[in-house]
Symmetry: C2
């Protein structure tokens, strides 16, 4: 019953070539195949490739066995600085370095509340020897001087606008200046507390009383005056200083020169390379110890630590399948509802779809065609068209606009469904952007009317206002006479509602739930204009050409600064400035945001400027990154600088940007985290650190941040971390804090020699 | 109210360095920054990079406008071969090439059922000129001869075991042989139909009657005999031919020689490069047309086309969060339940956890520690340890075993929860593997007892049996006397249940729902043994050393062949052989599977042998790939050959392998697809093609495949595709079919010249 016999009936032709010669050859091949195995890039039991992390860990493990690891765990009272250990003689923390001890206040406040935190011992990376990082002493001093001034510039503008600047960096700046650090000088943004149980977030009764103040624009910036007479004389209310235009441009020019300065470029490039290597060594030595902390941390893991989608556009916050379902469902219920009025003629939903030659029953994700694919890569213009379902702007109007014949009812419902999904997921929050264009002064009225009418509120959502940089289009169509009018349309209603809340109750309520402003558009478009002292003032900018990115940024910042001062004075919440920045275009965009923004979205182009990248590190400016969005638009996933930034210690978070266009699953933010974890092989500690960053970066209120991160979340370093809530290892926190202090201390040392 | 003034009080030190000189420099830098923009790797409106796909598409689009595209759509009756167009003079489809027209039968059957399918016109890539693909005529002929014989070898072994071989390839083989193609000679596997409405899948009444036949092993292969006397004389029942051992080794040696043969390596390497380029050009020219087909296809999109998780291990089929929740829940309910008996002493769940120094309330995903991370890369040994929650084999026993003190109740419940999630997701199916070790003859009794007792059935699940290649361990512990006993333990109970279903009702029911066998273990372990005519027979293999991969594969194949013939004769379902293959280790593994396996899992190492890769293409052998699993174990995601294989036309599907270890989200299979789509920038058509492949590869029954893919799914080429069900463009199907025919025809031409 051999096979050859049984198949003879089918008359297969088998060439009977098998002989001893061939067998011998086969054996030879087999032998070489077997022998060659170890040499190739295959896996064998005897060999481990260089990039195999296990080797590194086992080496680390070898250094101390599990038994004495347990002994090394100890409770350290926070009075004793955990890093001022003899292990690391060069490390100087801000409080212990100067005999005049400017940080006594801080230490005192600590000893008043003697909280304890657990910091396991870990292996530190120390550099013994020269401070100058391999550059000449002159270059080192020059660079440190530049870094110092750059940080001081940012600190100034952050303080002016009630935005954030790290305490640690401030302390070092004061030490350099020989001034005492006064914690009472620090500012922070004010966010609206979440409604208490039973409290109505739309209740207008608790609004502050109306004032008779007057808000008026001068040179593109809105000031507040006691009355019209003071306004006529331009005598604004005191203690509400505007940024000085000339100084700002001076500061900017200084920074432009700095980021192009050879020695500083070399110095920062070397520091960044060092930061990268240092983290790699830290990881190699301490990865298992960090993991051990997390394993011993009860209840909390990556899944139930809080994460905020720090950058998402409301109009694309649902995924494509969700939108499809919603359209189908709405048609089932509302087919005969009037949803449009074209030239006085009512159009029902049925007719609308019929006009488009569509029946929702046949619609699929493919025909909806809102997903970005290979088609959109490097084509922002094509991408924008993807906002129109089935390529029909009528459907965008109907489903994704706040202002239409049905008063944005569908859009509100979709957003509430997204919020309800987030509530189900429990640990996820989002900061959707709604648009104000500045084309018309009553945009705010309509938007806040929509918000109040449909009660678009959820504890999972914090609202942001995005302002597209499309003055040129409005001017071209003669919607606005000059750029100043656009700014006025954007900001004046906010001033008015702040001064007279009861005259603008709906807007006042809405503004309570708005946490910041975003500036959006294709950054790769270039205006050709350079912002300088000779630039026309906004009221004089009446040409059709768009002003530059920096010009936009400056005037948004200046007006937000003025609003924040006014609102702070009135006991209201303030706004953060969180522009899209560095997604594409010139590096100078990142410079403008360095001066003005609390935090940014994207930041890809920090890759191109070591000076700015190092400054973003020193100032710990949060960056909401969206590698999946970039993958469809500007930069392939594997080339994303996310991992590099994270390793160096930049404050990165993960965000979705536009789930409708980029994501496949029901949980877009988890998809974003999962893909980053897989592609970059992130550890749990990495992922939880990113999650923690996202909460800190967000506009969540003090109460919420306390609840999600721990009561000391405003403190920096390991004492600000509550591992039980964040699941970030204290070793990681200490590494980050000590690394930042080390770099800041270098600058201090560089300035000492003068 | 300038900023400088307002901050004087804080005595900031600002270095007043800004002067005209610096401004000029800043302007210069700004200008160069602006100017340089277009030259760098940034995006500008005027420039598109080479890898920007939009350019290519617009070129393609330019060739015919939308209007005449519509005209080009037409209904083509299937009688007219859509590819026998003058456009492509060199293309020869199997039926029209020979004047003796051996495929009349097939054409006839078509004209009997004149189904219509829509094939839009598309742009074809044709090569005009020499057939020999740039190698010498001698080499070309030599290669074609080798390819032909290799395909004929596979066809023979597939037919013998009721496994699949493509009709198209068979037709070409018959044409080469000058024999008529007889569709009645084709075989296909038999799968159990899904239970009809109201039918109980565990009903034992419909089992066939018992026979008095006898099954007995001889030389490692089990034969069926009429009675014990026939068995003693080794006179097996007729028409159940076993593979001939000597012939098999001859065939194998021929193939080993072939894959190492210089000219054939060169030839196949060139063909594969050509296939890659051809697909790239096809994509460039037809991507938009394919997308148009999908957009016009109502109801169906990627989300609701059926996909099968073709490779998943039951013990890791839940994700880590799911397992965590299950453990916590079970403790809440069953803390006082006895779950273990150690040396006669009952142990409750409470005690079990107490012994482990654990409280489930504190457990987190981190302390569970079942996720593969950087630690497991290139360390399969570390990976296997991840199967133990909290590193405790006791918990693996309790939650992930079919055989324990609670009779595998928890494991059954977890699997049913996974199945219920799949039922909710509606369009997803999975083929979990359960283990039979061959250590003990009653393993099947216990496993089928578990299956029946807990009624572990779901329409979403098709079961597979995995056999770990760990004879060496069993022999080392003296569990088995020789390798033959292990084979007997694995296969004899299946023969017995097939002969006497009523004597083994539970096993017989279970086997109805089993669709195939898998062979699993770390392929990078090397035995050092070479399978040849001098190898000891299994009953003689009594050393502790493990036999080679090929030895295992041959004896599994031989026994599955014998079972299938017996079961087919009894009107029962047959089993497919679907081993893990080519995940690591020697290339010869892929050769063994080429001869024996219906389809394989992994296949990464096809990268290393162009001859085998080309043969896998010609024979259209499905490959279940798990890039996320590979990313954690053997190969980084970006280096996965998935995209390359897909483009060349190999039949790839996506599978999760071990969601517990690798995945983050609640929908592991969707995560797998989403990440592949993002990283490889797959189009919807690509993803739906992979989904379709997964259904074809799977052990889903004929009824289910008909329902999911269309009634003509067994036909090859576009006529076998029902776009309304699969959402795969007909253009893509035609491209695939024509490309396969073209390559097969080349071989025919190469053999003609002899």
């Amino acid at each position: 019953c051999s096979i050859t016999a049984s198949l003879v009936g089918n008359t297969y032709v088998f060439l009977p070539e098998t002989d001893e010669h061939m067998l011998a050859f086969a054996e030879k091949v087999f032998a070489s195949e077997t022998k060659g195995e170890g040499v190739r890039d295959e896996i064998s039991m005897f060999e481990v490739q260089d990039d195999c992390p296990i080797l590194q860990q086992e080496m680390a493990h070898h250094l101390h066995t599990d038994e004495d690891t347990d002994k090394r765990w100890k409770w350290i009272p926070t009075m004793v600085s955990p890093f001022a250990l003899p292990l690391n003689p060069l490390f100087v923390c801000p409080s212990s370095s100067s005999s005049s001890s400017p940080s006594v206040v801080r230490r005192d406040s600590r000893s008043v509340a003697p909280s304890l935190y657990l910091l396991p011992d870990f292996q530190r990376v120390a550099i013994i020897g020269d401070y100058a990082s391999g550059v000449t002493m002159d270059d080192f001093e020059l660079s440190c001087k530049g870094m110092y001034r750059a940080l001081a510039i940012r600190e100034k503008y952050m303080r002016l606008a009630f935005q954030r600047f790290p305490l640690t960096s401030s302390q070092y700046l004061r030490e350099i200046e020989g001034e005492p650090f006064k914690p009472e000088h620090t500012v922070k943004p004010v966010f609206t507390s979440p409604p208490k149980k039973g409290e109505d977030p739309f209740n207008t009764k608790c609004l502050p009383e109306n004032l008779s103040w007057v808000a008026r624009m001068k040179d593109g910036v809105i000031y507040t005056y006691k009355d019209a007479a003071a306004a006529d004389q331009h005598k604004p209310i005191e203690n509400m200083p505007a940024p000085d235009y000339i100084t700002f441009i001076d500061d900017m020019n200084f920074l432009i020169a700095l980021i192009a300065q050879g020695p500083t470029k070399t110095y920062t490039h070397r520091r960044l390379k060092f930061l990268m290597s240092k983290f790699n060594v830290h990881e190699m030595l301490n990865e298992m110890e960090e993991m051990k902390e997390l394993k011993l941390n009860p209840h909390r893991d990556f899944y139930n630590c809080r994460k905020v989608d720090t950058h998402i556009h409301a109009a694309a916050c649902m995924n494509q399948k969700h939108l499809l379902r919603f359209i189908k469902k709405s048609y089932q219920i509302d087919a005969d509802r009037v949803v449009q009025n074209i030239k006085g003629k009512d159009v029902t939903m049925k007719e609308l779809f019929a006009n488009l030659n569509l029946h929702p029953y046949d619609l699929t994700v493919d025909s909806l065609d809102v997903h970005a694919g290979r088609q959109t890569f490097q084509r922002f213009d094509k991408f924008n068209a993807k906002y129109n379902p089935v390529g029909a702007s009528e459907l965008r109007d109907l489903y994704m606009k706040t202002e239409n014949y049905i008063d944005g009812e569908y859009f509100a419902r979709i957003i509430k469904e997204v919020a309800s999904d987030l509530e189900d997921a429990r640990y996820q929050y989002a900061e959707p952007r709604l648009s104000i264009y500045g084309c018309n002064p009553n945009e705010w009225t309509k938007l806040s009317g929509w918000f109040n009418k449909h009660r678009v509120f959820s504890p999972q959502l914090k609202w942001m206002i995005q302002v597209p940089r499309i003055y040129d289009i409005f001017r071209g169509r003669n919607f606005v006479p000059h750029f100043g009018k656009m700014l006025e349309n954007i900001f004046l209603p906010v001033f008015q509602a702040t001064i007279e809340p009861h005259a603008n109750p709906e807007l006042s309520i809405f503004l309570k739930h708005v946490t910041g402003f975003d500036s959006v558009d294709d950054e790769s478009k270039h205006s050709g204009h350079m912002f300088c002292t000779k630039s026309p003032k906004p009221e004089e900018w009446n040409i059709v050409k768009n002003p530059s990115y920096t010009y936009y940024i400056y005037y948004m910042y200046a007006n937000i600064t003025m609003i924040n001062q006014l609102r702070k004075a009135r006991g209201m919440n303030t706004f953060q400035f969180r522009p899209h920045c560095g997604e594409a275009g010139a590096v100078t965009h990142l410079l403008a945001s360095f001066m003005t923004a609390d935090n940014i979205s994207h930041g890809l182009n920090l890759k191109k400027s070591p000076v700015l990248q190092y400054l973003y590190f020193l100032a710990q400016i949060p960056i909401a990154m969206s590698p999946l969005s970039n993958n469809s638009l500007f930069l392939e996933y594997a080339k994303s600088p996310l991992l590099e930034f994270l390793k160096k210690g930049l404050i990165v978070s993960l965000s979705t940007d536009d789930p409708m266009q980029f994501h496949y699953t029901r949980e877009p933010l988890m998809e974003e985290y999962a893909i980053a974890a897989q592609v970059f092989k992130l550890s749990t500690c990495d992922m939880c650190e990113i999650s923690r960053n996202s909460v800190l970066q967000s506009g969540l209120s003090d109460e919420e941040k306390t609840h999600f991160l721990g009561s000391d979340y405003l403190k920096e370093g390991p004492e600000g971390n509550d591992i039980r809530k964040t699941n970030v290892a204290q070793i990681r926190m200490a590494y980050r804090y000590e690394t930042l202090c080390y770099e800041l201390n270098l600058i201090k040392e560089g300035l000492k020699t003068e």
